[in-house]
């Protein structure tokens, strides 16, 4: 049994560690006063179009960081090799993210490429995949509906074949930033199908007639879900991603991608929150004695989350079944982070509630993570299902 990174992974981790030390940490004082929106992913999308000079200045800093990272070969880490990326292991990606999370500057290495887009074929590759890899296009993910979420049998949006086209009708709720995205990965079902069968995924360009983003909705988390309306929207069959009728599997694959990142992110953020709490009580002996054991407890929880995350990533690299581990990490990570931040607000008092305060931002951002991408209830369900399927054998060593 060996918990160490491989030499190659370790070398990558050290590069990122250096990058964080040399490039990000020095920017922290500046970002401590950044506008509220520099939490979550809002700054990468809608805010890019802001004319506010202060925001433009921050965006310019981010662009500079991006160029430096690209130069050091730290950009396309999780892009497959055929597309010019490093295609690093899950474990390596966790190690990289762990380093990045040591800084509070909200900088990520690489662009967000929805993993299912690697299933693009033919012209789709030039039109959707490459621009996403290069950061020229962004996409929204159109699955949930007013009455359906994780349950495919409730999906009501239909795609009716009509010659070489499909005619799409229905409403999608909550694809984030769809109003500023270039296209949407839309899930709809063929007429007369039910359950998982017949669900098909389409790549629908913003501006396609019959496709309208009705509104965007403010949330405390800074992510902005939208309402999408499709009225007799005609989409050519060349826009089908993967196979007709096999779209539900794509959704599952999307959920499964890099699913241990949530663990190491929560680990990093939790550690940073606890550092702030420690700083708050540092000069007050009574406060230190009062809070020390709870801080210690949460630090221990945070380290436990780290161990669990690496375990999951390693199992994923071995192509083992990681459904239970992934649910484990998602549940542990999001619930822990919530408790850590709640605790930090208790220690910080009212000043922690200031809108721009790191803790207030962290709170707003963390709350959503207990719901999105499978709420805690679904995670527990997955865990118990595995438990009753495999018994304690699922917890045994390999």
């Amino acid at each position: 049994m060996d918990f160490r990174l491989t030499t190659e992974e370790e070398r990558l981790r050290q590069s990122v560690e250096r990058f964080v030390r040399d490039e990000l940490i020095p920017l922290e004082p500046e970002f401590a006063n950044a506008p509220d929106i520099f939490e979550g992913t809002r700054w990468k999308t809608r805010v890019k179009s802001s004319e506010d000079p202060e925001i433009k200045r921050y965006i310019a800093v981010m662009e500079g960081l991006r160029r430096k990272a690209e130069k050091e070969g730290l950009w396309h880490l999780d892009v497959p090799k055929p597309y010019g990326g490093l295609e690093v292991s899950n474990v390596a990606l966790i190690a990289v993210t762990e380093e990045l999370e040591k800084s509070s500057v909200p900088f990520e290495l690489g662009n967000h490429v929805s993993n299912i887009l690697y299933g693009c074929t033919g012209e789709q590759i030039e039109k959707y995949l490459w621009p996403c890899i290069r950061g020229e296009k962004t996409s929204a993910f159109g699955l949930s509906e007013p009455a359906s979420g994780a349950d495919p049998s409730m999906m009501q949006t239909t795609a009716t074949p009509d010659g070489d086209f499909f005619v799409i009708n229905g409403t999608k709720m909550f694809p984030t930033f769809a109003d500023v995205a270039d296209f949407v990965q839309l899930f709809a079902r063929l007429p007369g199908t039910s359950g998982r069968d017949g669900v098909t995924c389409f790549l629908v360009d913003t501006g396609t007639p019959g496709y309208q983003v009705a509104r965007s909705i403010a949330t405390i988390a800074g992510s902005e879900p939208c309402e999408l309306v499709f009225e007799n929207c005609r989409v050519h069959k060349s826009h089908v991603l993967g196979e007709v009728g096999k779209g539900w599997a794509l959704n599952q694959a999307w959920l499964g991608a890099r699913r241990f990142q949530v663990g190491i992110r929560a680990h990093g953020k939790s550690a940073r929150v606890l550092r702030i709490v420690r700083d708050l009580v540092r000069h007050d002996e009574k406060a230190r004695d009062r809070w020390a054991s709870r801080i210690g407890h949460f630090l221990g929880e945070t380290e436990a989350l780290r161990t669990l995350t690496y375990l999951g990533a390693w199992k994923a690299d071995q192509k083992l079944d990681v459904r239970a581990e992934a649910a484990n990490v998602k549940l542990f990570a999001t619930e822990l982070l919530h408790r850590v931040i709640d605790f930090s607000l208790e220690v910080a008092g009212p000043s922690g509630l200031r809108k721009n305060h790191f803790l207030a931002r962290a709170f707003r951002h963390a709350r959503a993570t207990r719901i999105v991408e499978g709420p805690s209830e679904i995670q527990r369900h997955i865990i118990q299902r595995a438990l009753f399927r495999e018994g304690v054998a699922g917890l045994e060593l390999l």
Binding site: P35, V47, D151, M154, A360, I371
Partner: protein
């Protein structure tokens, strides 16, 4: 022991409930509605109640007997029992509209401000953040020294949440002693200023009350430790009561959603996980309801009630958070 509401209590509770339903809940849609179809690229602005709406609501609340709940009879009010006041605040807690009856400590009605406070012409803020934060009087920053020609306040900077008020009530410690004094200061008093307002996550704001070379007339000293304790306890009961209203609303909404929402072929209400979240929440609400009422009832009977009020506030505010969190989870999950 008789835990039923008296007729008077039931009456004021129903009046408050109707007011909240008709005047506040009916306005929530407007208040919450997003101004634009698409969000602007900058940081979102703080939501506020329009001043005209605020004024109109205050007027109607006054007509309904739900405004200055403590105004004494000699000033034309009909002061409520503490239990009744708690019942009113509990109803107001049901609405997310930032509007509630102001609380004016009884002893302020013996000051020159009394009439204007009673009519609502001027407003009052409690600047007790420091005392709340540490729970220790020895930690108070503001020191005072009484001299024949006035009271000198040491230069200080404290947080204050209702920064738009005309009068500020705050505790201070006497220089060289353990005595605590309770002072009122006018917004435009020389040496006093309000600065650095920042938005909170809660749609409220917080500002700093700055004292620099500030000297005030001696009659601005309105009380001592007991009066300060009373104000704190009274505020705690109000907060506990509001929290109960918040929680009841959240619970009702979660129950309704759970009854209607179907996932994987079953209603959420049939799932034990959901049932238990709500069962636990209801236990907490029942507990906090009666802790709050018992503390209020003790206050009415002139028994000690500061500790009871503190406990009710601590528990009820946590409960309100739990209620909102649970309701969000059930709606979102």
């Amino acid at each position: 022991m008789d835990l039923k509401l008296t007729e008077e209590e039931r009456l004021i509770k129903n009046t408050a409930a109707q007011f909240v339903e008709r005047e506040l809940i009916s306005r929530e849609g407007d208040y919450l509605r997003q101004d634009t179809r698409f969000l602007p690229p900058g940081a979102p602005a703080r939501r506020r109640l329009q001043p005209a709406v605020s004024k109109q609501l205050a007027e109607r609340a006054r007509q309904a007997g739900l405004w200055s709940l403590e105004v004494p009879e000699k000033l034309g009010g009909s002061p409520l029992s503490v239990v009744a006041r708690v019942l009113v605040h509990r109803e107001f807690g049901r609405s997310i509209l930032p509007f509630r009856p102001v609380s004016i400590p009884a002893f302020l009605f013996d000051t020159p401000y009394s009439e204007k406070l009673a009519t609502g012409e001027i407003s009052l803020a409690l600047a007790f953040e420091e005392a709340h934060r540490t729970g220790e009087l020895s930690a108070l920053q503001i020191l005072y020294r009484q001299e024949p020609d006035g009271t000198t306040l040491r230069d200080s900077s404290i947080f204050v949440s209702n920064s738009g008020a005309d009068l500020f009530l705050f505790p201070a410690r006497e220089q060289g002693s353990d005595r605590l004094g309770l002072f009122v200061i006018e917004r435009d008093a020389p040496g006093m200023s309000i600065t650095d307002e920042v938005d909170l996550t809660t749609d409220a704001a917080v500002a700093r009350l700055i004292l620099r070379q500030c000297k005030i007339p001696n009659d601005r000293l309105l009380g001592y430790e007991y009066e300060a304790g009373e104000i704190i306890a009274s505020e705690q009961l109000n907060m506990a009561a509001r929290s109960l209203g918040i929680a009841m609303r959240c619970l009702a909404s979660a129950i309704e959603h759970a009854r209607n929402r179907v996932t994987f072929g079953r209603r959420l209400a049939e799932r034990q996980a959901i049932q238990w979240m709500l069962a636990d929440l209801s236990v907490e609400i029942r507990t906090c309801t009666w802790l709050t009422l018992e503390a209020a009832s003790r206050a009415d009977q002139e028994l000690t009630y500061f500790e009871e009020a503190a406990l009710a506030k601590k528990r009820a505010t946590k409960m309100a958070f739990q209620a909102a969190d649970t309701a969000i989870q059930i709606h979102g999950g």
